[in-house]
């Protein structure tokens, strides 16, 4: 098994080096300094800014610096006096408070839906659920978010006379701040993702159902419930865990839309604001951190996979 883990670790090193290279190159195709200063800037200003950013150094040294500390100490262009690292530390929590509950809720609902659908495979309930998933997947995310905010924040407060969910913004004051600011985005996020996930989990479970050991279990005379929960779900959980682990880093980015719309100062919104404002140090730092998070979860997934699936250990 350790051989497997080490092999995976080694493979991720060039991948990580590659990501940083791609990001650095992509951000330098259009000179970021000219983009920032505008066409009217003087050569002097330009040189000064380049010097300050360390863009004058040889490429390989810039690369090394980014690799070593993500350039977290750099000052943001749009927010003078704030470093990339400080901005990052601030942006992590709002993202966390939305992404994690949404992930848990989505996984639970999707898994339950998938189990029910697979249990009643081919019958009306299964068809209804899966048709609902396809229909739901055919509507743009953006529409869910817009309508979710309209009905959840505007209309609901009109009907009840109280502002239950905030229209936008984020604050940690008060005892119910999470429900007030985060619950509605979490619910919308769950609705968005649950169709995709339940289809995926159902496919996994159905595949598991056709396996020989399940047929044996049925032949032994086990009840359908016991077969489903003990023989099918346990094996399917391997795929579920992998799926959840892989989606983890994407979740932070997946919040981008919701964070932008609900004006929540998380990682996604910070990145988009930086891109729209041509804030070069922020874009570079954030992307590098996103990639690093991805690599780490990737390795963790592989290790976890090796732990739960004996076939991996043997190969």
């Amino acid at each position: 098994m350790w051989q497997y883990v080490v092999r995976k670790l080694l493979w991720n090193i060039p991948v990580y080096l590659g990501i940083l290279l791609v990001v650095m190159l992509a951000l330098r195709v259009n000179d970021p300094v000219w983009g920032r200063l505008g066409k009217n800037a003087t050569q002097e200003q330009y040189d000064k800014e380049r010097e300050k950013l360390g863009l004058k150094e040889p490429f390989i040294r810039q690369y090394g610096k980014l690799l070593w500390g993500f350039d977290l100490g750099r000052e943001s262009w749009d927010k003078p006096g704030r470093t990339v690292g400080e901005e990052l530390a601030q942006a992590v929590w709002p993202s966390f408070w939305i992404a994690l509950p949404a992930l848990v809720l989505t996984t639970l609902i999707a898994l339950a839906t998938a189990l029910v659908a697979a249990f009643r495979r081919g019958r009306a309930l299964d068809r209804g659920l899966m048709a609902g998933a396809v229909v739901g997947m055919s509507i743009s995310y953006v529409v869910y978010i817009i309508l979710g905010q309209y009905f959840g924040a505007y209309r609901l407060s009109e009907w009840t006379g109280r502002q239950i969910f905030a229209i936008q913004g984020y604050d940690t004051k008060g005892s119910v701040w999470w429900a007030h600011f985060c619950l509605l985005p979490v619910l919308i996020n769950t609705v968005l993702a649950v169709g995709y996930d339940s289809r995926f989990y159902r496919a996994v479970i159905v595949e598991e159902v056709t396996r020989d050991h399940v047929r044996t279990a049925r032949a032994k005379g086990l009840t359908e419930r016991a077969v489903m929960l003990k023989h099918v779900l346990r094996n399917a959980l391997i795929s579920v865990i992998t799926h959840v682990m892989i989606t983890l880093p994407f979740l932070i980015a997946g919040e981008i839309l919701i964070e932008v719309y609900f004006n929540i100062p998380g990682m996604g919104r910070t990145l988009i604001t930086a891109i729209l404002g041509k804030d070069f140090p922020m874009v570079q730092g954030f992307t590098a951190v996103f990639a690093a998070v991805f690599i780490v979860t990737n390795i963790l997934t592989d290790v976890l996979y090796a732990l739960v699936d004996p076939r991996v250990r043997l190969s």
Partner: protein
Amino acid sequence: MLLSRSFRKFRKSKLALAAAAGIALYLAIGIGIFGGLVTREEAFERVGPDSVPGFGAEQKPEKRFGDVDFEMTLVERALKRKDPERALEETMLGHRRPAAVPVEELRKRLDAAFEIYDELEESKDLNREPELWPKLAELETAAARLWQPLEGWDTFSQHTKLVLGTDRQGRSILLRAVYAIKIALQVGVIVGISAVLFGTALGAAAAFYGGWVDIVVQWLYSTLSSVPYLVLLSVLVFMFQGSAVEQSLMPLYAAFGLTFWIGPCRVVRGEVLKIKQLDYVHAATALGQRRWRILLKHVIPNVSHLMLVQFSLLFISAIKAEVVLTFLGLGVKDEPSWGIMISQAKQEVVNGFFWQIGAATAAMFGLVLAFNIFTDALQDALDPKHIA
């Protein structure tokens, strides 16, 4: 025919056939737009007052008053110009033109309308003063006399343009939603085809030749898929900011093209790894055929079904990603796309105006749903491993 058995299986599913018909309809409209069915100018043209609801739905008196005000102002502005005749000739609201009467007569009619207008203007909230409503109807009749009554085809055309109402700039929602089909098909087809071709080429080469080619390709797609794709797309769009092509669809294509090939590449690589071991490939090698010929003649045709499935998956993703990127201000800039419409609609929804978001969502829903069903049926028919 290679696919004939699968084709029969596909044909048996009525739902799949309906979906295929739906896609064909969208395609026909898209081709029609390329042929000039709806032009870009028409999609930008002002056809009436702003935020008119669809199907001639009842409007609040306050809004009706605003609309009359708008129509009167258009004529008034023309009359105040140095050369009123020419200004009037240039004034148009969709198919409607100012009444073809002498300028003096038009002035008289405008003054008559303004007399009623002034009485109504004193009211604070017309919605709450039903006694003024007959007056409002009177004003509407008076204002209508400023405009030439529509005839024949123009009537039909104008009604069609207003059937789903107008957006905040008074542009026809129907025309914009229909014109957006072209943009969607353009993005979906270009991105889908280029990504599938590129991905297949790399994936097949990687699996077939193995060795360092395989390592490089694997490294390439592991690298690109290690950045969440929305982040990667954003960075790529950032790359194009301020360049000459920023306003065009080029950044969008480049960003999608660079990220979307990963899916087909993985799938094709896996399949070719298996095909490579099959007897007929060994036989071809034993016959002394060249490697690249075997790849082109014997291997690629056997992954063509996967290419088809991947294309339709990517088509859906591209259309949906367009909306998301446009919403974030990184996508389509100056074409009427569904993304633009939905983004604009966020202001309107707050005021309870759902026509624009509804039209764009419905148009997109039809296409994406048809493609979703179509893809599922394709996978059922072509991919033995797919679970239905």
